[in-house]
Subunit: 74 residues, 2 copies
Amino acid sequence: MISENDKIAQIRFGENLKKLRIERGLSYRKMAYTCSVDNSKISKIEKGRVNITLNTMLQLAEALQIHPSELLNY
Amino acid sequence: MISENDKIAQIRFGENLKKLRIERGLSYRKMAYTCSVDNSKISKIEKGRVNITLNTMLQLAEALQIHPSELLNY
DNA sequence: TTGATTGCGGACTTTCTAGACCGCATTTAT
DNA sequence: ATAAATGCGGTCTAGAAAGTCCGCAATCAA
């Protein structure tokens, strides 16, 4: 079951992801191209609509060329 | 589909989790008690047998009383 | 102003996590 | 020697993530 706190965490994570992506001048599609995560999925993650898994996080970090832990530094 | 790299990442994550848990003198069951993650699940995570989600990571971090990003600092 | 790019959401199938519980062999305490 | 604690694996259901593709309005570029 998804608690309210969980949703908030997802939204925060998404906001941070968006910030990092924009900083690098990447569009959803460009980013998707380099990390095998579909562009629509990236949109959903940034909007806090999914409870992302570790492996997906690592793929995003690779596309952004950052250390995975940075995704949680917010 | 779970790639070989994914499995390796899960195993690394698990090893780090184990280190952090042991450092705090917590058993599976004690830790489970404070984070509503079943003790058998913690075992599976430490063994790299599951692709944990963000929310579960946050619960583990809370039980360990660390910042979530530390779970990825390995 | 035409064409491309972008953000974002819907829909669908497959695969796997979450969550809860059981059991047991081994280690650790009493 | 006995009891408790611990590590760790298995099993089952429900629901959600992964993965893939379509579509469209709005913005941007030629």
